[in-house]
């Protein structure tokens, strides 16, 4: 071989080497599609065999009200029942904005959404008709969530039965919020000169009863046709001007002695001087003038059938137990057959609705449940099309306490046994002092010629119809405990003992059969469906704790469709700490210092809910479907000024506990149209993790590294945010923003997928791996130049930057524990032996591969 040939060969090979290097494609770690998720023992797994850890968000808070914008939304605040033809298309956000919002949700670190919708949204007009436009919208929204890598849990949401059950109130009432007087005043509307909504020529000093309220507390969920059926004794006419007024306002104007003055104010003229004389109260002139003003503006008396039985509790949850309308609807929905025997469904005009299958009028329970079932069937047909639908959450927080309703029933049915006079005697005994007050004859129960203060109070309660004014059949019918229409041969009466019975073992007797019915229907439509169910909103919520020997815990056993269907169900409890406003109307947000929540630890409480699944539900997976925090503590202005620190601390507590317990979770909530004044547009709740400008708030707590799919059974996870409490050790750097995930030996070759938010790692981050390798993809922050979170072009203003990491564990030994450790560069800590350093689009590799 000639030298020249050899040299040519070498040089040629050199050129070949240089140019033979290949360049590959940029990794795209966003999955083209998500695979179906199903329960496996106490975990959720995808089709690839990975353990799914859900960190989700409820979308969204404003879904509880129809989709309205601008003035329409404001109009709805004070006139909710009179706007017809409302739609939920656009809830949680319009479809053409969904890409931006879902991308923001993904970029904030959520891998799933609990997508809320209303029964009313699907079936707004009739038991037999669905809103195809809404279903098409729902279909599109689910698909868009999939495009953004988000799992979807479908939830039919409801609280206090229906948005049509509401109580108006005036936030601009005189006095300081939180005071008793202000609470009283808040039940009255603004004057015409204040509201500016009265008809032309109206007295500016007159109360604007039609449009003078600023907001209302309402339920949400059920459509109007269901209201017609469950509360047929109510006047549901849209032009009923009394609807929504606090029910006592209908009694203030009663003039039983027919002397031209409302009796109540006559009584006030008597009792106020008396009480002032005893030194118990002192009213100033302004207050007395206000009372005169109220008397002058008191509305014409109206019965409770003209309005909803509801009070404007700022913490609306009280109405779950105190609203007779809500209680009755739920009792009829779940247990109408036993609690209201013989009750049939009536239409708006009071005509019985015929079940086409039987040719007989629908029993009320069957009518309501079959309507609910039909709604779910239609939704399941939509959900079936989408692999990212991970479940069907049948009903939100089903109320299962009927104490007040059953007492009411007993009040009537036991009156013959002297219950009414016993109550009078009881109150008289409690407040025995005689008062020289005049009481209408028909209210005097004692026969000693004297009126005690207790008797007087008892009189007032009945006069104002806080208690039934009497135990007559008319009164009972007004309250919906009995119904009689001789022309249609319709008659029923509530069974008091059955109502009392609802308070015991309700979940097992009524909720489980309901869940099983709905689960069966959904599975018929979507054979791969996973059913999520919630614990009943029961005595333990009302009274706290578990009672003596667990008497208040009334859990059912796990719903069952057929043998071996354990993999069908997921338990989804909700839990909130003591964050709700104090008891009252028109209350201010709670006040906390930032230290109040800093050191709290939620693990024990959350673990107790998880244990319910162990103890009662065959140890099926537990995913917290709701938790969260208000964002307006100390007032929204102060909260903003404090950078939402209290709320942020609360959320951080949650997430630290979820990570410790390895519990999946879905925070309440993401409200695209959150508002500084009206919050999430429902009952002044303000829980949204984004603010009215579409900017994340408190994201240092909730935008944290999180896995979605884990290649083996998770054993440990933690992230130390800025809000983590450090107990420092000498010479050791506090591992700020350290994230660690450990899991048992891999069970699949598919990667563990991780989300890493840029905001926690602005200077990049190191990755240490126990074994295997990673790939990373950076998604830079997006500014939406047209971003505006108001108006028709509503879009989030910016979407944070983030990373997706795919971790491929390679060690294959059975007892191996894989580990991913992430830390930012920490001052005072030299990072060594890392496998990767990642900063935006740049990846440094080190350590040992494989």
């Amino acid at each position: 071989m000639k030298f020249g040939r050899i040299v040519s060969l070498v040089l040629g090979f050199m050129l070949f080497c240089v140019f033979a290097g290949c360049s590959g494609d940029e990794p795209d770690l966003r999955p083209d599609s998500l695979s179906e998720v199903e329960p496996y023992l106490t975990y959720l797994k995808d089709k690839e065999g990975r353990y799914i850890y859900l960190k989700g968000v409820n979308v969204g808070g404003s879904t509880k009200v129809p989709y309205l914008e601008g003035e329409d939304a404001l109009e709805h605040r004070y006139n909710p029942n009179r706007a017809a033809d409302l739609s939920y298309v656009g809830r949680p956000f319009p479809a053409d904005s969904a890409d931006d919002y879902f991308e923001q949700i993904r970029a904030l670190g959520f891998n799933s959404v609990r997508l809320l919708f209303m029964w009313e949204a699907v079936m707004p007009t009739s038991h037999d008709e669905v809103d195809t436009e809404f279903l098409a919208y729902l279909d599109e929204i689910i698909g868009k969530a999939h495009e953004h890598g988000l799992y979807v849990l479908l939830n039919v949401h409801e609280n206090i039965w229906s948005r049509h059950i509401y109580s108006l109130y005036n936030e601009k009432a005189d006095g300081d919020k939180g005071d008793l007087i202000n609470m009283l005043y808040s039940l009255f509307p603004q004057k015409c000169k204040e509201s500016g909504r009265c008809a032309e020529g109206a007295d500016p000093e007159a109360y604007d009863w039609e449009k003078g309220f600023t907001d209302h507390v309402s339920g949400d969920g059920a459509p109007m046709w269901a209201n017609y059926a469950c509360l047929p004794h109510k006047n549901w006419d849209l032009d009923n001007k009394n609807w929504g007024l606090f029910r006592i306002l209908g009694t203030l104007g009663k003039d039983l002695d027919d002397n031209g003055r409302p009796d109540f104010f006559e009584e006030l003229d008597l009792i106020i001087p008396y009480l002032e004389g005893t030194g118990m109260i002192t009213l100033d002139d302004a207050t007395k003038a206000k009372i005169r003003e109220m008397e002058k503006n008191t509305p014409e008396p109206f019965p409770v059938t003209e309005t909803s039985d509801m009070m404007p509790w700022t913490f609306w949850g009280f109405d779950t137990f105190l609203s007779m309308d809500s209680d009755q609807c739920y009792a009829k929905f779940f247990a109408g057959d036993v609690a209201y025997p013989g009750m049939v469904a009536l239409d708006k005009d009071g005509a019985p609705i015929i079940d086409p299958d039987t040719g007989q009028p629908y029993p009320i329970e069957e009518y309501l449940q079959s309507g609910y079932e039909r709604m779910w069937r239609e939704v399941a047909k939509v959900g079936k099309k989408h692999a990212n639908v991970i479940g069907y959450d049948i009903m939100n927080e089903p109320p299962i306490v009927f104490i007040v309703l059953s007492i009411l029933g007993a009040y009537f049915d036991l009156s013959g046994l002297g219950l009414e006079s016993t109550l009078n005697d009881l109150m008289s005994g409690l407040l025995p002092v005689d008062v020289p007050l005049s009481v209408p004859d028909n209210y005097v129960l004692s026969d000693d010629g004297e009126t005690s203060l207790g008797e007087y109070a008892f009189f007032l309660l009945r006069f104002l119809e806080v208690l039934p004014r009497d135990t007559s059949d008319e009164m009972k019918a007004e309250l919906g405990l009995t119904y009689k229409d001789e022309t249609r041969n319709v008659e029923w009466s509530a069974d008091t003992f059955a109502l009392l019975g609802l308070n015991s073992n309700f979940e097992e007797n009524h909720l489980r059969p309901f869940y099983e019915r709905l689960a069966g229907a959904i599975v018929e439509e979507d054979p791969d469906a996973v059913i999520w169910f919630e614990v009943g909103f029961g005595l333990s919520y009302v009274l706290g704790g578990e009672g003596v020997g667990g008497q208040w815990v009334q859990h059912m056993v796990r719903p069952t469709l057929e043998e071996g269907d354990k993999e069908r169900f997921v338990f989804s409890p909700h839990w909130y700490p003591d964050i709700y406003p104090h008891i009252g109307f028109n209350m201010t947000p709670r006040e906390f210092s930032d230290e109040v929540y800093r050191y709290r630890e939620y693990s024990e409480k959350l673990a107790s809910y998880r244990d319910e699944a162990k103890n009662w539900y065959s140890n099926i997976p537990t995913v917290f479907g709701e938790f969260g925090t208000y964002w307006n503590y100390n007032g929204i202005e102060q909260s903003v000024a404090d950078d939402y620190i209290v709320s942020t601390e609360i959320l951080d507590n949650y997430y630290e506990s979820y990570e410790e317990l390895l519990l999946s979770n879905m925070v309440w909530c993401y409200t695209a149209d959150n508002d500084y004044t009206y919050g999430d547009w429902w009952n002044h709740e303000d829980f949204s993790v984004i603010d009215p400008d579409g900017r994340p708030r408190g994201e240092t707590a909730y935008s944290r590294p999180v896995p979605t799919a884990i290649s083996g059974k998770p054993t440990h996870m933690h992230f130390y945010s800025d809000h983590h409490y450090y107990d420092p050790d000498k010479g050791e750097v506090d591992p700020f923003h350290e994230f660690e995930l450990r899991f048992a030996s891999r069970e699949t070759r598919e990667p563990t997928t991780l989300f890493v938010p840029e905001l926690q790692y602005p200077d990049g981050f190191y990755v240490w791996l126990s074994d295997g390798f990673c790939s990373a993809q950076y998604f830079p922050q997006q500014k939406n130049p047209e971003g505006s979170n108001s108006g028709e072009n509503r879009k989030p203003e910016w979407i944070p930057g983030y990373y997706l990491l795919n971790y491929y564990p390679t060690e294959d030994r059975p007892e191996w524990e894989h580990e991913v450790l992430i830390r930012p560069p920490l001052k005072g800590q030299e990072a060594r032996d890392w496998n990767y350093f990642i900063k935006r689009g740049d990846v440094l590799t080190g350590g040992t591969r494989h």
């Binding site: 080497c17 990673c774 005072g828 800590q829 990072a831 350093f837 440094l844 040992t848």
Partner: protein, 511 residues
């Protein structure tokens, strides 16, 4: 001292590093003429010099070195410890030949990285330094003149600060280190046409850039007139913990190398040339589900002309790692390495120029393509910070620290280019100062945080020699780091590029 690619430099008398006498003696011991079966074609980038066996004609260009030794009169079973003694009295047949390298070394650096931010608990300060000692004995057990067992091991490097002769607890970290380097049998029959080398041994491809490992190997070696041809199978230790019991081990999760290498000498006038092409197949199935099949084609050219030595090394790799991509797909490897070395011997001056280029990956980690060369970690550069320090390898050389390790190889995703120039002068027979200047850059700055410059090193090596058995090195080095190095190396602040200073004092005894 490792037998790496620097052997060839030593053999042309351009080396300035330690152990030249040991090397010479090793040649003498292993490649004794006539009866010797010693053939070490697999030694790292060794200039393979076919030796003349009895009845075998040496290539015409091969000179008379190493010294031919008449072993016929050496009594059998006598241990030979001195070359001269061996030359005079070690006989043929059954015998043991022994040699050893001893070194005590002091090394100090101002910092391990280029960032002076102290850790919160600064126990070891920023400084990096040690005093240590090692001994590396070698034994050649000759069963016959053409069959021997070779054994090399290393005791140490034991740090003076940690070594405790009374320590019995082997888990304490301060016991005597014992590393077995080579244990193999070598034989040569039929006038060299049939030979073998089987056992744990140093194994290298002709360039030394890909394979340059101590591994278990079995080689069939044939040495006809035209050169040396070697067919090998080797097994590289893997990372998996399979234990040492046979019932806990198998051949299913291991890393293998199969290869063929040719070393063909040519001579024309004063020009001598060795052309060594080789092809290897690396099969790595140590990681379940992630098997790697990689072919490596190596070309080595060694040209000598009077006072000039020119060496070109080229290696190209192509292969597939199953399922190794981000999406679970396969990864295509395609990398290369190139090295050019130029040596000039103008007595008393010695000049060495070296350039090595290791390909890097594309911009994306764990995609379907991997362009980073699987690198042995060893090259011909004289730098001691930018590449391996041949006085004492400490594992802190930047080329390896810039990369990640994968199954006994280093991959530098950013790629690596290192150029250096060494100027040495034989001032006297006992003193040889050498100045080295080198600089390195990366090929793909995307994989080095958008920076290209790795650093520039200058070192001065003062070498004192006493009778070829005792030498001293006094070395001072300074490294001006670049952003690429600081991005990869710094423990905290990746923007800092503080100077790195290093000093080294070594005493070596070789016989």
């Amino acid at each position: 001292m490792r037998r790496k690619n620097t052997w060839i430099l030593r053999s042309v008398r351009a080396m300035i590093l330690l152990a030249a006498p040991a090397f010479a003696f090793e040649l003498f011991a292993q490649e004794t003429p006539a009866q010797s079966a010693d053939v070490s074609p697999t030694v790292a980038s060794e200039k393979t010099q076919p030796t003349e066996t009895e009845g075998e004609k040496l290539p015409s260009w091969v000179d008379d070195k190493p010294t031919k030794i008449d072993l016929s009169k050496v009594p059998m079973e006598e241990v030979c410890v001195d070359p001269e003694l061996v030359a005079s009295s070690c006989g043929s047949g059954k015998r043991i030949v022994f040699k050893a390298d001893f070194q005590s070394v002091f090394f100090i650096k101002n910092d391990e990285d280029f960032d002076d931010t102290p850790p919160e608990y600064n126990e070891d300060s920023q400084q990096s330094a040690f005093l240590g000692t090692y001994l590396r004995p070698e034994f050649s057990f000759y069963a016959t003149d053409n069959l021997k067992i070779f054994w090399e091991f290393e005791i140490g490097l034991n740090l003076w600060s940690r070594n405790n002769a009374d320590q019995n607890a082997t888990g304490s970290g301060d016991y005597f280190l014992f590393k077995q380097r080579e244990l193999n049998a070598q034989g040569s029959f039929m006038d060299g046409l049939v030979g073998f080398s089987v056992g744990y041994q140093h194994f290298s491809d002709p360039t030394g850039l890909f394979l340059n490992h101590w591994i278990g190997a079995a080689s069939f070696i044939s040495k006809p007139e035209s050169g040396v041809f070697t067919l090998s199978m080797a097994q590289i230790p893997d990372n998996t913990a399979e234990g040492i019991l046979t019932d806990e081990n198998s051949l299913t999760r291991d890393r293998y190398v199969f290869g063929f290498r040719a070393d063909m000498p040519f001579k024309s006038g004063e020009t001598k040339l060795v052309f060594s092409p080789a092809v290897y197949h690396l099969y790595d199935d140590t990681v379940v589900d992630y098997s790697k099949n990689l072919a490596n084609l190596s070309l080595h050219l060694d040209l000598e002309w009077r006072y000039l030595t020119f060496i070109a090394d080229l290696a190209w790799q192509y292969g597939i790692t199953s399922n190794g991509a981000y999406d679970g797909g396969d990864v295509i490897h395609s990398g290369y390495a190139a090295q050019i070395h130029l040596g000039l011997d103008f007595d008393p001056f010695l000049l060495d120029f070296n350039f090595v280029n290791l390909s890097g990956d594309d911009d994306h980690e764990a995609n379907d393509s991997d362009g980073a060369f699987l690198y042995s970690g060893k090259n011909r550069s004289k730098t001691i910070l930018l590449s391996e320090d041949e006085i004492r390898d400490r594992g802190d050389n930047l080329d390896e620290r810039m990369g990640s390790s994968d199954g006994g190889f280093t991959q530098i995703r950013a790629g690596y280019q290192l150029v250096d120039l060494n100027v040495a002068m034989n001032v006297t027979d006992y003193f040889q100062p050498a100045l080295v200047v080198g600089a390195a850059v990366v090929n793909n700055d995307t994989n080095a945080m958008r920076a290209s410059f790795v650093g520039m090193e200058t070192n001065l090596n003062l070498k004192f020699m006493v009778d070829d058995v005792l030498d001293f090195h006094l070395v001072g080095a300074i490294l001006v780091p670049g952003k690429a190095a600081s991005a990869r190396i710094n423990g905290y602040d990746r923007s800092k590029t503080n100077l790195m200073y290093a000093g080294e004092v070594a005493m070596g005894v070789h016989f």
